[in-house]
């Protein structure tokens, strides 16, 4: 067994020192305890159950009406969700909310995500629509509006993107000018792709004061001069409202400025940090539903006189889907656990708590970007497999999997495209390394030294059932640290331009977090979920070998691109010392995982027990 030190221990928050953001690069893989889905409290499971019951009984049955935007239905469903307290989760107690931890909040989001359009509408309301107010509103604004958000008496939305500025969010052209009497801001400009625009009562609008100072404003939808455009006809999430907004001399009360003048970028980025975290978790809910739908279909559909589930190629797809979900789940709740433990260092009733929470979310923004990218891509591959299992039927609108396929695609685009997030991951790591906040350089030196020696770079890290996987996780971590540091030293400031390299480096960082989180979780399952330990181990083994193999290939590619001429051979030789050459047949494990999926008719590790 690998020696365990606690990354965190819920309950003893005071003395637990959580890993810093990006900390997964710094220390030997798999040697500290992490937060996992197996550690949810009874209360967290109860919240999840309520959300699951609600979405299955009140939302999914209205699927067809939701998708054609039946008049008044979405606001009605949001108000029903309000009756159950879903919008209160992220509202601090002193404003009448529940002020719950992020794990609970995101666990509920995961359940809600079983209906794509509703999930997006709900997230635009109580996430990006409401959180700017929670974090930056004056007490007067918060006291007035948050109770109405809680019941969904009013519905919120977030207006950042413009026709000319998407990924380049700060390039916004909408302006705000103080009125001559100093009582109002006068907004002019336009916004694009605004979720909930057609049903929203209030908007958080980003505009530049005097064309320069990027700032955020809390705007009443009924303000004269504010026009909501026609509904966009979208590829997916068709039941959620998406429109453009036009501002023509829209008067906004002076006190509705959120935060400070010229600090809007802070608001935009912090809201994106939490949005990415949330999206990373929500996509798993969608993926779990697709796995259920696909498994059910595969069990019933017969070809050549056999159920599809009896064909190994279908079994392998089901196993791939489950392993993808398991990996995303391991990363997601590890991250929410880190956020919660760090957030608990300030008391919830402290008026500064929300500020502290933002710092924490910023601290873990590398992990949030990782979850967003990895999760949205897992979902895309799950829906793709889902359609494929359905064959021709999967191409028909009559089948839920067709809807899920279309709904999935937006996740790689909004909350920062996956490309933008990929640039951010190594970018942030290196920025922090330069500032001395994330000590990757000594780690890189140590890895470099051990790689230049002839013998195997790392001794075995234990002898438990997953010792080999721990070794793989450590090798991936070392390879990642090595390529990140090598690229940084070779390219220096030029690295920023080398977007192909940054993409590969981001993928290596994602893989490091993925393999480490997955293997650690499976090790802990021996204690936390003994009944399912064989399944955990199979999932972790399949994930670990798959990730390890692709990570080494990527590392090699990075080195070859970095040193097209002279050094390529030496560097590739060094990397070869990370190759343990031992591997394992994975098909039997995939079949075992598939059997569990088929037996459960669903993702086989259920939170309710």
């Amino acid at each position: 067994m690998v020696a365990q030190v606690h990354e965190m221990s819920p309950g003893s928050a005071a003395d637990a020192k959580p890993s810093p953001g990006g900390g997964f690069l710094l220390e030997n893989a798999c040697h500290r305890d992490i937060f996992t889905a197996e550690k949810f409290s009874e209360e967290q499971r109860a919240f999840y159950k309520t959300a699951l019951d609600f979405v299955e009984k009140e939302v999914v049955p209205h699927h067809k009406e939701i998708e054609v935007k039946a008049e008044g239905l979405m606001p009605r469903l949001l108000r029903k969700a309000g009756e159950l307290g879903f919008h209160m989760i992220d509202i601090p107690e002193r404003f009448g909310g529940l002020g719950l931890d992020k794990t609970t909040s995101l666990l509920v989001s995961e359940a809600i995500a079983r209906q794509g359009s509703f999930s997006v509408a709900l997230g635009a309301h109580n996430g990006i629509g409401m959180l700017p107010l929670v974090f930056y509103g004056s007490d007067a604004l918060r006291n007035e509006w948050l109770p109405k958000f809680a019941t969904a008496e009013i519905i919120g939305a977030y207006a950042l993107t413009e026709p000319g500025s998407g990924s380049d969010a700060l390039g916004a052209k909408t302006t705000a000018v103080l009125s001559p009497d100093g009582k109002h801001w006068i907004l002019n400009g336009s916004k694009m792709w605004i979720t909930n625009a057609g049903i929203a009562d209030v908007f958080t609008v980003f505009a530049k004061i005097d064309g320069k100072k990027f700032s955020a404003f809390f705007v009443d939808a009924k303000s004269p001069g504010l026009t909501v455009g026609a509904e966009e006809h979208k590829m997916g999430i068709r039941g959620s409202s998406t429109c453009a907004l036009t501002f023509e001399d829209v008067k906004v009360p002076k006190e509705n400025l959120l935060g400070e003048e010229g600090r809007g970028h802070k608001i935009a980025f912090n809201i994106l940090n939490i949005g990415r975290l949330r999206l990373g978790v929500a996509v798993m809910g969608g993926a779990k539903r697709v796995l259920e739908v696909a498994t059910l279909y595969a069990k019933e559909r017969k070809q050549f006189g056999k159920s599809l589930t009896e064909f190994r190629i279908i079994q392998q797809k089901l196993a791939d889907m489950a392993v993808g979900i398991y990996t995303a789940e391991s990363m997601s709740y590890r991250t929410t656990g880190l956020v919660d433990i760090a957030a608990s260092r300030s008391a919830k009733d402290d008026p500064e708590h929300e500020k502290h929470l933002q710092d924490v979310l910023e601290e873990y923004n590398i992990e949030s970007s990782i979850m967003k990218v990895f999760g949205s891509e897992v979902l895309d591959s799950v829906v793709d497999d889902g359609v494929q299992i359905h064959g021709g039927y999967g191409y028909s609108e009559e089948y839920a999997v067709e809807v899920a396929y279309r709904d999935s695609r937006i996740n790689r685009i909004f909350e920062g495209t996956n490309e933008i997030n990929r640039m951010l991951i190594p970018g942030t790591i290196l920025k922090r390394a330069m500032k001395g906040e994330l000590d990757v350089l000594p780690v890189a030196q140590e890895v470099q030294q051990s790689l230049s020696k002839a013998q195997s770079p790392i001794p075995p890290l234990g002898d438990g059932p997953l010792a080999q996987e721990v070794q793989l996780a450590e090798l991936v971590r070392r390879a990642t640290v090595y390529v990140v540091a090598t690229a940084a030293m070779k390219l220096m400031t030029e690295l920023e331009k080398e977007q192909e390299q940054l993409t590969l480096l981001a993928d290596m960082c994602i893989d490091t977090y993925a393999i480490d989180s997955t293997v650690r979780r499976a090790i802990q399952a021996a204690k936390d979920d003994p009944q399912n330990v064989a399944l955990h181990e199979a999932m972790a083994t399949v994930a670990a070998y798959t990730i390890y193999e692709r990570a080494l290939a990527r590392a090699r590619r990075i080195v070859i691109e970095l040193f097209p001429d002279e050094d390529q051979y030496t560097r590739a030789m060094e990397l070869r010392r990370l190759d343990i050459n031992e591997t394992l047949p994975l098909f039997p494990l995939q079949r075992m995982i598939a059997a569990k999926v088929i037996e459960a008719g669903a993702y086989p590790l259920h939170y309710l027990r």
Binding site: E42, K49, T50, G85, L98, A600, L608, R609
Partner: protein
């Protein structure tokens, strides 16, 4: 008015139950557990009754440590307090009924409402046995007169009517509904069409943590828990054999008459 309701921890009815290879028992490892849906209906009915008439709802469960989760679910729905009879033994309906009778002696409720059956063993006996042991009137399979689509359910009215020391129960019986009046105290068991149980709201889940939940070891009540019903063997229902397609009604009648001999 005091109402005692049951909340049994059962295996998730949406998951397939596995049978041990030798047929000696059911495999519950790795299963999900939920509250018996009929018991959720019982809790809902009790809450609607006390809302209309005032009083207290006490949730009861007998089972292992984890059964506290299901009691707390009842508390989160709105019940006032819980009683957990701790035991790791497999209890049959008779043991549960005798345990409940002891609790009734102590609590003296005006009404005991149970699910008509639990979705794990589907025994459908505990309520009837309890009424027998207590010598109380019983109204089983309680339903709602206009069903679940009518205005009464929309207004979240109770299906049981309490008037002048009697409880009126609309029962689902073969071929329709019958209404009976029971002298209180009485035992009522709930059918599926009595009400739609409410969702537990998040604030109420948090409040439930602070509600009183008494733990008592089942053994301390002096009830013999050894099962009266012996499980001999578990087996899967036989797989359905393939059907045949016949070309006419006449052939169908001929086959039913002569081959299957199910009609004369």
């Amino acid at each position: 008015m005091k109402i005692l309701v049951t909340m049994k921890r059962v295996t998730d009815y949406e998951r397939k139950v596995k049978i041990a290879p030798d047929g000696s028992h059911l495999i519950t490892e790795g299963m999900n557990f939920v509250a018996n849906p009929f018991d959720e209906i019982a809790v809902e009915e009790a809450l609607r009754l006390t809302k209309a008439h005032g009083g207290e709802v006490v949730v009861f469960s007998a089972g292992p440590k984890d059964a506290a989760q299901q009691i707390r679910q009842g508390l989160a729905m709105g019940a006032d307090r819980g009683i957990h009879l701790l035991t790791d033994k497999e209890l049959d309906s008779d043991a549960v009924a005798r345990l409940l009778a002891k609790v009734v002696d102590q609590e003296k409720p005006d009404l005991v409402i149970l699910g008509k059956q639990a979705t794990d063993d589907d025994a459908n006996q505990a309520g009837q046995l309890l009424a027998g042991y207590l010598g109380w009137a019983q109204g089983t399979f309680a339903s709602k007169h206009e069903g679940l689509e009518g205005p009464e359910e929309k207004a979240q009215k109770p299906g049981l009517a309490i008037e002048g020391g009697k409880v009126h129960v609309v029962r689902e019986v073969d071929g329709g509904l019958e209404t009976i009046a029971l002298d209180m105290p009485a035992v009522v068991t709930t059918d599926l069409r009595l009400n739609h149980p409410r969702f537990t709201t998040l604030p109420n889940i948090m409040k439930a943590k602070k509600k009183k939940l008494d733990e008592v070891t089942a053994e301390s009540l002096g009830v013999d828990l050894s099962p009266k019903v012996k499980m001999l063997r578990f087996s899967e229902p036989p797989a359905r054999t393939a059907g045949q397609i016949v070309d006419s009604v006449d052939t169908l009648i001929h086959k039913l008459k002569n081959e299957r001999k199910v009609i004369a």
